[in-house]
């Protein structure tokens, strides 16, 4: 086997190693141990470091998210079927909308994201129902499936909104138009 002569290691090798230690390994450890973003790390990189705190806590219930619309000021809320708009199920039996609410359902700082989703859903409704009146309000609801000890007849299946009792439902936010 012919061995090419090259300087091993070169300055570039040292540089790359230091780069990944300081930009990847150390922040990954920091986030893993403290559950906090590494100080002064750009958010786009911090996103990469949040990689290892998986399934760390027990849960008492599992969330399902629903979208409801209202067409009159005091009218009833009717469920909007978003299965046509969100067909992908990336990881688990859940759609991208479920994933959206896992990240953006809490806090005022996430309100802009929820507002964007509400506007997009309204736009989709308009496209699918040309000529019909548009909703004047959209509500996002978090419904909780409690833990159980039996009835495991197969993989996870989403429950319809009608099967949740009032105390199992929580309003995430309401968006008026």
């Amino acid at each position: 086997m012919m061995i090419h002569k090259r300087t091993i290691p070169s300055f570039f090798d040292y540089f790359c190693f230091a780069f990944f230690i300081f930009v990847w390994i150390i922040p990954l450890l920091y986030m893993g141990f403290t559950n906090r973003i590494f100080p002064r790390m750009p958010p786009a990189l911090s996103f990469l470091h949040n990689a290892s705190a998986l399934f760390a806590k027990s849960v008492s219930s599992w969330p399902q998210y629903f979208i409801e619309m209202r067409f009159q000021p005091d009218g009833p809320w009717t469920e909007y079927d978003y299965t046509d708009d969100f067909k992908m199920k990336p990881f688990g039996y859940r759609t991208r909308v479920n994933r959206f609410f896992e990240i953006f359902s809490r806090g005022e700082y996430n309100k802009m994201a929820r507002e964007e989703l509400a506007r997009w859903i309204r736009g989709r409704y308009a496209l699918k129902n040309p000529g019909k009146p548009l909703p004047i309000a959209i509500r996002f609801t978090d419904a909780r499936v409690p833990l159980r000890s039996d009835g495991f007849d197969g993989h996870w299946k989403n429950k319809p909104l009608s099967e949740f009792s009032q105390k199992e439902k929580f309003v995430v936010s309401v968006h008026n138009f």
């Binding site: 012919m2 061995i3 090419h4 090259r6 091993i8 290691p9 090798d13 790359c16 190693f17 990944f20 990847w24 390994i25 990954l28 450890l29 893993g32 141990f33 559950n35 750009p42 958010p43 786009a44 911090s46 996103f47 470091h49 949040n50 990689a51 290892s52 705190a53 998986l54 399934f55 760390a56 806590k57 027990s58 849960v59 008492s60 599992w62 708009d85 992908m88 199920k89 990336p90 990881f91 688990g92 039996y93 859940r94 909308v97 994933r99 700082y109 996430n110 802009m112 994201a113 507002e115 964007e116 997009w120 833990l147 159980r148 039996d150 495991f152 007849d153 197969g154 993989h155 996870w156």
Partner: protein, 317 residues
């Protein structure tokens, strides 16, 4: 970690340390890792594409704007008409990189493509995407592609830094995952944590079967075995003699994750790729040469069959 460096004899402690982290190593582990990682990426992203490329990456579906997205990095989705071209670019780059073709270019193209799809739609990006980005970033800066490639190259040793960073990634990931579960989470205090997690929206038919037939105690046992494995990963993977135990245990663990959690098979496959970095060079060379001989045997058998068929069909009467 492995001691397969081409090391000089009689070095002092400092020199041995430097040699371990930066000394010359054979590329067989990195190239085998490249091949397996590339295949796992093609499977994962192929599955996402098949589920719905339009929803995943196009302007026709919902994507959060950069302003509303706390990652503060959000690439614009593509017009539907451009999707087929992007698909060719994306899967083409990944396939070429997997095959070790023009790795200096294809590793950068793959990195750009995977970064693009991750930050265009964070709603379908998970830990697996993050590890792919970091892996490709390491490989893009590191010359590789001597083995497992149709291109004829003369193998030459490289500095070990990339191998060590990738090995560290696996060890750190396992350890801090275990640490989070034990000390930030409640895996030590609550023996039913795994049981509660497994019946959620990841629950597969196999998980449902286990929940029907196994008492909660079995899940508690699995929970503590998982914690033990993850927290002892540094020892299991760094100490050469413990490595077979670590890998065997890890394969069972990752296999159970794949079996009980819907679509997490992709994550398990990605993590298992890292195990290759801890194997002996000679084991990988033997495997590579055995496969090469098998392929050559198959080729010559096919040629023989071809000739026989030709002779039979076109033999003068």
């Amino acid at each position: 970690m492995s001691q397969n460096n081409l090391s000089k004899p009689k070095q002092n402690c400092g020199q041995r340390l430097l040699n371990f982290w930066f000394g010359p190593v054979d590329l067989i582990r990195i190239d085998t890792f490249r091949l397996l990682k590339g295949l796992s990426m093609l499977c994962y992203f192929g599955s996402w594409w098949r589920q719905g490329a339009v929803e995943w990456l196009s302007t026709e579906s919902f994507h959060i704007s950069a302003k509303a997205n706390w990652t503060a990095l959000s690439f614009p989705p593509l017009p539907v008409g451009l999707l087929p071209f992007f698909g060719i670019f994306f899967f083409g780059s990944l396939a070429l990189w997997t095959l070790g073709i023009a790795t200096r270019v294809t590793s950068w193209l793959s990195l750009l493509a995977v970064t693009y799809v991750t930050y265009t739609d964070i709603l379908s990006a998970y830990t697996i995407n993050k590890f792919y980005i970091v892996t490709l970033a390491v490989m893009a800066l590191y010359p590789h592609g001597d083995y497992w490639t149709p291109q004829k190259r003369v193998p030459s040793p490289r500095s070990a830094w990339a191998l060590r960073i990738l090995q560290l990634t696996l060890i750190v990931h396992y350890f801090i995952t275990g640490y989070s579960k034990a000390f930030t989470g409640d895996w030590l205090q609550n023996p039913s944590t795994l049981w509660s997690q497994i019946q959620g929206l990841y629950m597969t038919d196999a998980a449902a079967w286990m929940l029907r037939h196994f008492p909660i105690g079995v899940f508690s046992w699995m929970q503590y075995m998982t914690l033990t494995f993850e927290l002892s990963a540094p020892l299991l993977f760094m100490v050469k003699r413990l490595r077979p135990i670590g890998m065997g245990w890890g394969l069972i663990f990752q296999g159970l994750v794949a079996l009980t959690m819907h679509q997490l098979i992709f994550f398990s496959l990605e993590i298992i790729c890292f195990y290759v970095l801890f194997l002996e060079d000679r084991t990988l060379h033997k495997t590579r040469l055995a496969l090469k001989n098998l392929l050559n045997q198959l080729k010559s058998n096919l040629l023989e069959l071809d000739n026989d068929l030709f002779t039979t069909l076109f033999r003068p009467k």
